[in-house]
């Protein structure tokens, strides 16, 4: 969490999305989404699979035609036919989007030219971006020879080349080893600290918590909550979470716990039970007692501090991760 950074001082938003709507057939993938990102701000879009993150981003980057709504980039309207406003955006697609049979530098050269870079400036930027993502020593190796994490990093480099004022990253750490993941997060943090605005989608709440100044929680095509981590967590009020495992008997366990005094909500997640309850630590003995009385085999019990995951859970009744 960065609190030492001045955000939104210029007054003009880097990205402004208002009332975006997009349907695929009868399914509303994006259903009236509005948000804005200020200069230098890192905005996290947190949501489960199929929430509409990629669709929202595709509209914001002018890849996809929207049904209605408005997108403005640095004050200029952008749609799927725009050309100039796209220069301000560095887009890093969710899926790898590089030519595997070309080297990292050839790929960057290709995409750099599309953004009007050339000559010495282009070569310089290629080296700088590869440096940023930690791939400078693999500069001339083919992408197909890269590990999954390295490919992801090269994918990010391609979005950074032209020094965009807004960097858009669509779940850049999915399926990445911890080392590469850390490298990616550090690179994004660095760029953000240097003043680049970032739109970062993820379904890992730790990433959103670590990187983002502000988070929008998205579910079923709508932003269900938005704010800083603190603001969001405060929405939970004074509720705590207790996570309980009763091997194989979570259904029965949930039944018992629902009847317990003070319990606000009981949610079954896989084999586990989550209990939302005020002042969890004080209530622990009665929780354990109730389970033991009903001959439920308690195998683990944990009090979870409020975090974005808890916010999501409270708002949607579901977990972020499947």
């Amino acid at each position: 969490m960065k609190i030492d950074k001045a955000v939104g001082t210029s007054g003009l938003a880097v990205l402004e999305c208002s009332h975006l709507v997009k349907s695929f057939g009868s399914r509303k993938a994006v259903n009236d989404i509005s948000f804005q990102i200020d200069p230098g701000e890192c905005y996290g879009m947190l949501g489960p699979n199929g929430a509409g993150k990629t669709t929202t981003i595709s509209i914001a980057c002018g890849l996809l035609q929207k049904d209605s709504g408005l997108v403005k980039v640095n004050g200029k309207e952008l749609n799927h036919k725009s050309i100039l406003p796209k220069r301000d955006i560095g887009y890093v697609p969710q899926d790898l989007a590089l030519y595997p049979e070309l080297s990292a530098s050839d790929n960057l050269r290709f995409f750099g030219r599309l953004y009007g870079l050339s000559g010495r400036e282009l070569e310089g930027r290629i080296n700088e971006t590869l440096e940023t993502v930690g791939l400078i020593d693999r500069r001339d190796d083919r992408i197909e020879s890269f590990s999954g994490g390295m490919k992801r990093r090269a994918n990010i480099a391609a979005g950074l080349l032209h020094k965009p004022s807004l960097l858009v990253l669509d779940e850049p750490t999915v399926g990445v080893d911890p080392q590469s993941r850390n490298a990616i997060l550090e690179a994004v943090q660095l760029l953000s600290n240097e003043g680049m605005a970032v739109l970062y989608t993820t379904h890992y709440m730790e990433e959103a918590e670590r990187l983002c100044d502000r988070v929008g929680i998205i579910d079923k095509g709508q932003i269900v909550a938005e704010g800083t981590r603190r603001e969001l967590v405060e929405q939970l009020g004074s509720l705590d979470r207790i996570r309980i495992s009763v091997s194989g008997m979570h259904r029965e366990g949930a039944e018992v716990l629902r009847k317990l005094d003070g319990v606000q909500e009981v949610i079954e997640i896989g084999d586990e039970i989550e209990v939302l309850i005020p002042q969890a630590r004080l209530k622990l003995p009665s929780v354990i007692e109730a389970l033991v009385e009903n001959h439920l085999p308690l195998t683990s019990l944990e009090v979870v501090e409020p975090n974005l995951e808890a916010v999501f859970l409270a708002l949607t009744g579901r977990e972020l991760r499947d």
Partner: protein
């Protein structure tokens, strides 16, 4: 954009095989199967008629016409035997043919007639029975046997004209003798009549041509099969390239192109250009390779160059359009393979020139490759120049225009997400 796309394609092994290796290998195999590749190469033959007269000149002319020499054999006429000899020692010609001047004169035919009449009764004509003094001499430097063989072949064709004339005359005489026997009067069996009949027979072209002899006589068959195979792989190669555009959609790079500040039209044109460039390079390279390795001649260079361009545009246009109709890469692959081979079979790409039965020739002209083959056949086999292939070029150009526009429109839609 085009260049990087091109670079990308030539790093793809299957593109290399399809565009560069396969057409060369197949053209070589077919060329070796149907022709005698070893006789290929530029052969210059000199010919002289000692003391020529009208009859001997017309016999030689009709003999040369009958030989239907391929483009890589050139025949030059000389005025004296010494000119032929110096030509061979200067290496301005590779072999010489000396035709005796009294060929076709009364005495030569009368002498021959004695032999022929005997032979005719047994219906056998053998060149070894020719009196020596009438045989046509062939000279060559001796170091290279191919020009010598070619010159011998030409001499034999001229020889055969004389025999043909004699046979015609003898047949006419024999028939008229049978007819007049019953009619008591004797026809003026003068040798003058027989001579004029013989000469007439010798200079009249045969009412039929022996197609099969085209191959044995070292026709320029690779010069035909090379462009023929190039056409087939043009289609398949362009299909692969266009499939790459469909693939970019699934691989995600197309989204990156869509995110870039460029018009989607520029993206499409860049990609199509890279397909065309690779196709053109592959055909021109094959032209060079077959010329260097096999000495094959594709014919008039300007005609070949223009026909290559027209053919490439037409085949690529059709192939790209077909691919753009496909919804998936797999579909695109099957479509271009099936249509490619159907076109190759119908157009006659796997058959030697002129070997298609008439009904198949008609069908082949419904395919662009059929038209291209007509053009390449005219250039390499008939030795025609640019004017001889303007028709096919026009047809191919029209096909290219129609499918080029159609595929631009289609692919434009594929690129838009």
């Amino acid at each position: 954009m085009t260049w990087l796309d091109f670079k990308r394609r030539i790093r793809d092994k299957s593109a290399i095989i399809t565009s560069f290796i396969a057409p060369f290998v197949l053209a070589s195999i077919l060329g070796l199967a149907f022709g005698n590749a070893q006789t290929a190469g530029l052969v210059r033959v000199g010919i002289v008629i000692t003391n020529p007269n009208a009859t001997s000149i017309s016999i030689v002319n009709s003999g040369l016409a009958e030989a239907a020499l391929p483009a890589y054999i050139t025949v030059k006429r000389f005025n004296s035997v010494s000119q032929i000899n110096s030509g061979i020692s200067n290496h301005t010609i590779d072999a010489g043919i000396i035709v005796p001047g009294d060929l076709g004169s009364k005495s030569s035919f009368t002498n021959l007639l004695k032999n022929i009449k005997n032979l005719y009764s047994t219906l056998f004509v053998q060149s070894s029975k020719l009196p020596d003094k009438y045989s046509i001499a062939v000279i060559s430097s001796g170091s290279s046997s191919i020009p010598n063989q070619v010159a011998k072949g030409i001499a034999a064709t001229i020889d055969s004209r004389i025999y043909t004339g004699l046979l015609v005359a003898a047949t006419t005489e024999a028939t008229s003798v049978n007819q007049t026997k019953s009619a008591t009067t004797t026809t003026a069996n003068s040798s003058n009549d027989f001579l004029s009949l013989s000469v007439q027979g010798a200079v009249t072209p045969l009412p039929f041509t022996l197609k099969s002899s085209d191959f044995g006589s070292g026709k320029n068959i690779i010069g035909y099969f090379a462009p023929s195979m190039a056409i087939v792989f043009l289609f398949i190669g362009a299909g692969m390239g266009a499939r790459g555009i469909v693939a970019e959609r699934s691989s995600g790079t197309l989204t990156r192109l869509a995110a870039a500040p460029v018009k989607s039209g520029a993206v499409v044109v860049g990609k199509i250009l890279s397909i065309l460039v690779l196709s053109l390079v592959s055909v021109f390279l094959l032209w060079g390779e077959t010329a260097v390795i096999f000495g094959a001649s594709w014919g008039n260079p300007l005609g070949v160059a223009l026909l290559i361009v027209a053919t490439t545009l037409a085949m690529c246009g059709l192939s790209i359009f077909l691919t753009s109709l496909a919804k998936t890469e797999q579909q695109a692959f099957s479509a271009s393979a099936i249509v490619g081979f159907a076109l190759a079979l119908l157009g006659g790409n796997f058959f030697p020139p002129g070997s298609l039965p008439p009904w198949m020739q008609t069908i082949s002209l419904m395919t662009p490759n059929g038209w291209a083959l007509v053009g390449f056949g005219r250039l390499s086999q008939e030795g025609l120049g640019l004017s001889g292939v303007l028709g096919p070029i026009e047809v191919l150009g029209t096909i290219a225009l129609i499918f080029g526009i159609a595929s631009l429109l289609r692919i434009g839609r594929v690129v838009e997400l």
